[in-house]
Amino acid sequence: MNKHTMIAWMEDKPGVLNRVAGLFRRRNFNIESLAVGHSETSGISRMTFVATGDDREMRQVQTQLYKLINVTAVQDVTDVPTVSRELALIKVKAKNGNRSEVMQIVDIFRGRIVDVDMETLIIQIVGPEERVESLINLLDQFGIVEMVRTGTVAMVRGAHDRAAQQKTAVPAYENGNQ
């Protein structure tokens, strides 16, 4: 069982999210997070999602997704150098007694305080999933009132021809028995 980060590009048509979500549900794929929005091409949305499973399942996720008519490309970026980020907003209880402690921790994690009132602080953090995760773990002791996470978005580092990639995105099949 491995965690995989994948990117899928799809035509921005009504119902396309329904198709993708329906596929994940019907094929029993285990999806941890999913983030979708516009891409650089108008009419094409870009989805980053994190899934867990064995090699067979991950290949199925890719090939089955690719079969959806509105999906134009799928790429597993787990083993290529990427920048991947998640944004979280965390509302923690912070009164006079522990306020500075919270602020110190947030500082160390390069988070920001984006809202303050007498009882709580809202903290914003942008970073790789693991960093977001660690900050949340530390803040837990103060009492998290509310939290929202966007799910990871990812981009492959360096210059590469994404146009070419889109057309050949039928995932390669590694031989099974050899």
């Binding site: 799809m10 094409i44 067979r56 199925q60 090939t63 079969k67 008519i69 099949y173 028995n177």
Partner: protein, 567 residues
């Protein structure tokens, strides 16, 4: 400038551009404008009025399987459209090209739970290759063009176009698009990767016990000829999947029939013992393989399929060959060396002998049983010259075992979904496409009753379909499972049947009941001699079961064989 056309006209004109000659359907409020345009403008497309919309989707399916062309069905919104779903799911599982056109409530009422609104796009989504909801007439021409393209290319499948009623009534300057613009759809019709083909050829050349499993993909790719050349050149025995029946003549010396849950025992032994398997155009589903990781344990498996998602989906394979079956076979032919495998073929012959020694027809009995009827049907139809459409159950398995198919596309059956009620309507579709062909329905008394309302369609269209009901008074296949796995408790399986002969006669269809073995052949001949349709009610021995049987959760090597008569 092109002329203004209504949404309804655009449908019919697009269908004509796609070469559609026949549409199976039943009207209702939301699709009415399209029906009106058909009559008003007298388009030369034949509309077959069905009795129930499930029949319409099965007819489109039967038409498509028999002819290789796209089958078209039509229904109104809400219940009309949901009635199509079983047929669409059936077609989706078996990769059959269908375009289904449904009416939808007007755009102003969408989402408001008005009369006869159902979310057809949502409901059909998981059981179709693609679908459309059309809320603007400007989207209609492209959707129609794309639907036919998507349904018929790559791995074929059903496509739904759900069209709001006001779109049918709106008008547009219409021109049928020449091309499609589908950035996410590249049906992979290219030759497969030459390296994988070379590797596959090498494996086959090195094999001592090679075996081919041929599936329906071979028929879709029209590659039967090349398959035969390859098998003959290298003397490789050929098994088929259930849907692959007809891709290789089952009377050919290299044919080892078909395998799986109720396949021939000798075929299953060969599947388990082969050292290299070339599976081509077969998706290796659990009915063929038994428990996945027990399948063909000694074999290195080469899997040829157009659909990359099939590679390793169920079975761990050695060499994937993603591509068209015809191009793959053409690539393999020159590289696979002429060969003989005398020891392997002799071993298979031995298994085959043992299988036929245990054959139910080798046992003396006066009882009327389906295997005998299928054998006689085969003789009476010039040894395999008819197209047979089977329903689902025991009779379906016996048909596949005892009617030796030699022609391509000569068996139509619901393999993937196992849809009872498929037989009669699919035969109607097939006969609409192949008017000269002799078409037989082989159905159980249970499944036949699910869609027998379409007898009126048979009569209405004057189709000479011959119907053989294998009447055992039970939901036979389920009864068999109860016999084997549930201590013979026949819960919910005994049937209350009508008098099928009288029933047929009520429709004006001549019919005869057959209760004795000696009358079988003559009855079949009588049915054949009739100008129009004919129904035979074969009242067979009730408790006969189908063997071999691979129990769920077992390997093909663990078949339950037919108990010997003494047991």
């Amino acid at each position: 400038m092109s002329e203004k056309k209504t949404g309804g006209q655009i449908i019919w004109e697009s269908l004509m551009r796609e070469g559609v000659e026949v549409v199976f359907g039943l009207p209702g409020g939301a699709i009415l404008p399209a029906y009106d345009d058909l009559a008003k403008y007298e388009y030369p497309i034949h509309h077959v009025l069905v009795t129930h919309e499930q029949g319409a989707s099965h007819m489109a399916d039967g038409y498509a399987r028999a002819t290789g062309r796209v089958g078209v069905c039509m229904a109104t919104s809400g219940p009309g459209a949901t009635n199509l779903i079983t047929g669409l799911a059936t077609a989706n599982m078996d990769s059959v090209p269908i375009v289904a056109i449904t009416g939808q409530v007007p755009t102003s009422l969408l989402g408001r739970d008005g009369f006869q609104e159902a979310d057809v796009q949502g409901v059909s989504l998981p059981v179709t290759k693609h679908n459309y909801l059309i809320t603007d007439i400007r989207e209609l021409p492209d959707a129609l063009k794309e639907a036919f393209y998507i349904a018929s290319t790559g791995r074929p499948g059903p496509v739904v176009i759900d069209i709001c009623k006001d779109v049918l009534q709106a008008s547009l300057e219409f021109e049928y698009p020449e091309t499609v613009n589908l950035p996410g759809y590249h049906p992979n019709q290219n030759a497969p990767d030459p390296h994988s083909v070379a590797r596959a050829a090498r494996l086959l050349n090195e094999a001592e016990r090679p075996l081919i499993v041929s599936g329906q993909g071979v028929s879709i790719a029209k590659a039967e000829q090349e398959l035969r050349q390859l098998a003959e050149k290298a003397q490789i025995p050929v098994a088929t999947s259930l849907l692959g029946i007809g891709t290789f003549p089952s009377t050919h010396p290299l044919s080892i029939s078909w395998g799986g849950m109720h396949g021939e025992a000798y075929c299953n032994y060969a599947l388990q013992e082969c050292d290299v398997m070339l599976a081509i155009g077969a998706r290796l589903d659990d009915r063929l393989t038994g428990v996945f990781d027990t399948f063909a344990p000694k074999a290195r498996i080469i899997h040829v399929d157009l659909d990359p998602a099939e590679m390793g989906k169920n079975i761990t394979i050695d060499t994937p060959v993603v591509g068209d079956a015809l191009l793959a076979l053409r690539g393999l032919l020159p590289q696979v060396e002429a060969n003989e495998h005398p020891a392997w073929l002799a071993q298979i012959d031995e298994w085959k002998q043992e299988t036929s020694d245990r054959d139910i027809l080798a046992q003396e009995t006066d009882e009327l049983i389906a295997p005998y009827i299928m054998q006689q049907l085969w003789h009476a139809t010039d040894e395999g010259d008819a197209t047979v459409v089977s329903d689902v159950g025991q009779h379906q398995m016996w048909e596949a075992q005892y009617y030796h198919h030699t022609k391509r596309r000569s068996l139509l059956t619901s393999g993937g979904l196992g849809t009872m009620g498929y037989g009669l309507p699919a035969a109607i579709g097939a006969q609409m496409g192949l008017s000269e062909e002799e078409i037989w329905v082989v159905a159980g008394d249970g499944g036949f009753q699910m869609t027998m309302v379409e007898l009126s369609t048979v009569v209405q269209e004057r189709l000479p379909i011959k119907i053989a009901i294998i009447n055992n008074g039970f939901l036979g296949m389920v009864r068999q499972w109860q016999d084997v796995f549930y201590n013979k408790r026949h819960s919910g399986t005994p049937l209350f049947n009508p008098d099928f002969v009288k029933l047929a006669e009520a429709y004006g269809i001549p019919a005869r009941a057959v209760t004795h073995k000696d009358d079988v052949y003559a009855a079949i001949k009588e049915a054949q001699a009739a100008d129009g349709p004919f129904l035979l009610d074969f009242q067979v021995e009730e408790f006969t079961n189908v063997y071999p049987m691979v129990a769920p959760g077992k390997s093909n090597a663990d078949m339950i064989r037919r108990p010997s008569p003494a047991e």
